[in-house]
Symmetry: C2
Subunit: 590 residues, 2 copies
């Protein structure tokens, strides 16, 4: 048995002992922290700590006599590869669900399954509880995590790096945002609200931080009471420097005393983000609640003119970084592609971005998929396990950054040598889909589901499709994935002026190559009447070596040429002379 | 006071007396019959009988001291025009709802509002009951209609005209359809089903009739018990001639004895179509029920190859009728358009259709909207109140027929003289939308909501839109509007091979003209893989005088030319020589 397996098995044994002490027949371990972000602080990576599985999604269930690991199709192989098969049964959802599996276990009468109530939301608790009850057991929220005593050297939070988003960039003062919040609450007859979305809280008080590698936020909740004002639940030392004097900071343990002061009045809460344990505290206090979606998420999604100017400025600098990189890449691989592997490409691109003013951090872990890795939609190159570039590869490169004034997320597919068979036609159809969305006009009230179909239609005409959404919302120096709108089959929310959305159709030929072409767009009013349209923010040429003009209409060709003219005009002043020449050639009319 | 108003007021007085006798403070009158069709037998037009309002949708509520009429925006003016304003308050939904209004009435304690339980579905009863309860009253289902004793000379049903749909045209024998039904019921653990959709019942037993002017069906329900077989609830004299010996016919009053024999086993019912009074009988019998959508509607919607061949043959003959008509129209109006009014146009077109083999009836009341009437989406020309054609009109003509082998529904917009300003551009964009849907390929699982967006995209690009759905399902010699799929913002059902759908985008310039271009399509598998596409059934040229080629792509022009070649090839053999020459010119390449 490997040493790693030994370590994890020992932890599992200790966990089972702790379960017995606490009276639990079963214990659930997720990958979440209390703030429910896509990124998790290192000290909250309990799933990996216990099982060895390092995937970004999944959960484990430990019973007295068996242990199961669940994740989605992205991680089927990884789960099995990383865990001790003598101990862990691995299951892919939805082929096998937690409920399916739990029903196969023989549970004693009155068996109790426990979960750390700080790390599970009210909505998820309710869903899991239904499954547990269906299997004949009970689900109980525990105030502590049974794993934490086994992890005395757990990594600490990074040092505080809080800063104020200036009102010139935010476009709206904190006091005005709070006034809007108060009005929303009055409309719903609530005297207070508990805000449990980290990006919303940071946005509300115009502050940013660096608590997570790719999300420049401070991890904290907020409580707003219309008579008492706003209070952040977090560490005073970390937060006080960046907030106004009229905003207080308190530890989360002070929530109950604030609840007491509500009396008969209603508290607005969001089950999708509220930790179950806080919900139980609220219930115990007798405070009346209104369960609703976060009232600020829609407002935050519609960027102010100042935020949009910030996005535009950031995109000019990010575009310069991309062009310098692409210029370098063309030369670097021209002679010998195999000189570079995927992680080296990722590192090189990061250096170009770091050279730009106002760079804060990547907005997510770069995807660099060369050759067949491009067809694995969630692929991330891992040093030591990555692929060397080869002649006649496609390279799919999806990357982005947070700058002080805006966030970027761009995908370009690059020809390394001669394009493989079928790639040019597929690339051209993907580009058509991209253009049809970028150029769309649509009435007020149109939702992402409708736009998703409009985007897919050109690919579908060629009997091609892609198994992910067309686009997601993007936050303003917050989270690169931002709701409530999305351009996808599930996109039920209407798109509104000021929303920043990605436009990223693709096509993946499993085992061979993958293509994705992504820009960010802003929803804008069209010059006349009740229609909306998109303004493209991203500035970077498409790879003309992958475009077959004969597959494009004259309107589509005109769109590409106009876009490339804009790219050249906007970017060339800040480029090195080599990059400027490269860009002039890349942007010449098709 | 007009004589008509006198008559209606007298009826209202008698109704109120009957309400008092029956213990009702209020009484609801809809336009529905027990079979809930879009068409209602003349003897069920109780709303018009009582109030004078003849719109196709709406309901009245009579209280002891007031009377209200509700309908949608199509009928706001008509309601007011046709009723005595001293008696009837008229309201447009959703501006004012029934619940809004009821709450303004002072209802005595324990007030009971009654409704004829045969004429209201379970689903609608539940919705209305919520409103009534919210207003502090109770809703009760009554076994009789308080109006019927006041209408001793109510029109009778038309004479029976039942006929058998031959299995060569149906493509599936009744016994096989019943076997499929039995399998569906087993899968849902039901021993019996009460089928309360008329088109489904007729389809199931391969019979047709003429109980309604534009719907060739026999009005009846069906009860299937897997041990006892199939029973139709209707008149034996009308139905027995066209059904197999193993199918019984009984009066609806015999439902309770069949329920008794179910014992502990489950009955499948459909709340959206089941009359409330039957639901109450079922509840009283103690029989266990499963509430579900009609299990046969999805099967019926996917036409057999034989049904599709029937549609194709019917469309060849209907196309010939349309072409003969359009040829006649061009000559007739060339000299003097004002010779004809809209109802004369409607009559003339019907004559051409009646000349075709197998013609049964129109599939709906023809819409002939000339000039500004074309912009009124629900407009129907009424003799004596219709408009005379004028030079430089557009004529919007939406018509169709049931033949013994298939059903048609086609809209053409025709230039009468010179097209009005703006009409050619709008027509061309509408045609582009039509083409984009007709030519679409889409993956299995795509729903009508997605296709609706793909259809609208070209109109939206020109900042135009239309305020109705893009398409509805069409039955096979049943109802011209058939679920469960639709191509609209609410189209949640996936389109499947064999579904016949309309493709009818439009654009309406209020006060001036209206444009709609409609063909019927069949969903077909595409030659390769998991994609679907459409085959166009309708054969009739588009009006080239309204097409601006400069607004079309070369792909769109090619599509029109290919379509017109098909139209000519398919239709010309059966045409008169004048029509043949007209068609050759109409179908020449753009």
């Amino acid at each position: 048995m490997s040493q790693q397996h030994e370590t994890h098995n020992r932890r599992l044994k200790l966990l089972r002992a702790a379960m017995v002490d606490a009276g639990f027949y079963g214990w659930i371990i997720g990958r979440e922290d209390m703030y429910q972000g896509e990124e998790v602080p290192a000290g909250d990576e309990r799933l990996a700590f216990l099982s060895g599985f390092t995937g970004s999604a999944g959960f484990a269930v430990v019973l007295a006599d068996r242990a199961a690991l669940f994740s989605d199709g992205r991680y089927s192989l990884q789960m099995a590869a990383q865990t001790d098969s003598a101990i862990w049964q691995c299951f892919t959802i939805p082929d096998t669900t937690f409920e399916d599996w739990l029903k196969t276990a023989t549970l004693p009468e009155g068996a109790v399954i426990g979960v750390d109530g700080r790390l599970i939301t009210v909505s998820l608790f309710r869903r899991v509880e239904r499954s547990v009850l269906a299997a004949g057991a009970n689900l109980v929220c525990h105030g502590e995590n049974l794993l934490d005593p086994l992890w005395p050297d757990k990594p600490a939070m990074p040092p505080a790096a809080t800063w104020q988003m200036p009102v010139e960039l935010a476009g709206k003062a904190v006091a005005d945002k709070i006034d809007d919040l108060a009005a929303q609450m009055s409309a719903k007859d609530c005297a207070a609200v508990l805000l449990t979305r980290v990006d919303v809280v940071n946005w509300l008080v115009n502050m940013r931080g660096a608590d997570l590698p790719c999300t420049p936020v401070n991890l904290c909740f907020a409580f707003y009471h219309k008579d008492e004002g706003l209070c952040l639940f977090g560490e005073r030392a970390r937060l006080a420097p960046v907030i106004g004097a009229d905003i207080s900071v308190a530890p989360l343990s002070e929530l109950p005393e604030r609840l007491c002061r509500l009396g008969e009045r209603r508290l607005m809460i969001e089950p999708d983000s509220l930790p179950r344990i806080l919900f139980d505290q609220i219930a115990a206090s007798g405070v009346k609640t209104l369960e609703t979606d976060c009232p600020l998420a829609p407002t935050k999604a519609c960027k102010t003119p100042a935020e949009l100017d910030g996005f535009r400025a950031a995109h000019r600098r990010d575009g310069a970084a991309m062009v310098e990189f692409l210029c370098w890449l063309d030369k670097a691989v021209a002679a010998s592609p195999a000189t570079y592997n995927e992680t080296e490409i990722v590192d090189r691109l990061l250096v170009f971005r770091q050279q730009q003013d106002g760079f804060l951090a990547p907005s997510f872990e770069t995807i660099a998929g060369s050759g067949p890795n491009g067809a694995i939609v969630h692929y991330r190159a891992v040093a030591g396990a990555d692929r060397r570039l080869a002649a006649d590869d496609l390279l799919l490169l999806d990357s982005g950054a947070h700058y002080r004034d805006g966030t970027t997320d761009i995908t370009r597919t690059i020809a390394i040598g001669n394009p493989p068979v079928g790639a040019v036609a597929a690339y051209s159809h993907v580009l058509r889909s991209h253009i049809h969305l970028a150029a769309a006009k649509f009435p007020v009230g149109t939702n992402g589901q409708q736009l998703d179909a409009i985007a897919r239609a050109p690919l579908w005409s060629a009997q091609l499709d892609f198994a992910h959404g067309t686009g997601h919302g993007v936050g303003h120096v917050l989270s690169v994935h931002e709701g409530p709108a999305s351009i996808s089959k599930r996109g039920k929310v209407a798109l509104e002026v000021g929303m920043v959305m990605s436009n990223e159709p693709g096509y993946y030929q499993t085992g061979d190559w993958g293509i994705r072409t992504e820009n960010l767009l802003v929803v804008a009013a069209s010059p006349a009447g009740q229609f909306l349209q998109f303004e493209t923010l991203t500035l970077c040429p498409f790879d003309r070596r992958l475009i077959d003009k004969s597959l494009l209409s004259s309107t589509e060709i005109d769109w590409i040429d106009a876009y490339h003219r804009t790219v050249y005009t906007q970017l060339h002043p800040a480029l090195s002379s080599a990059a400027k020449a490269w860009l002039a050639s890349a942007c010449r009319p098709l």
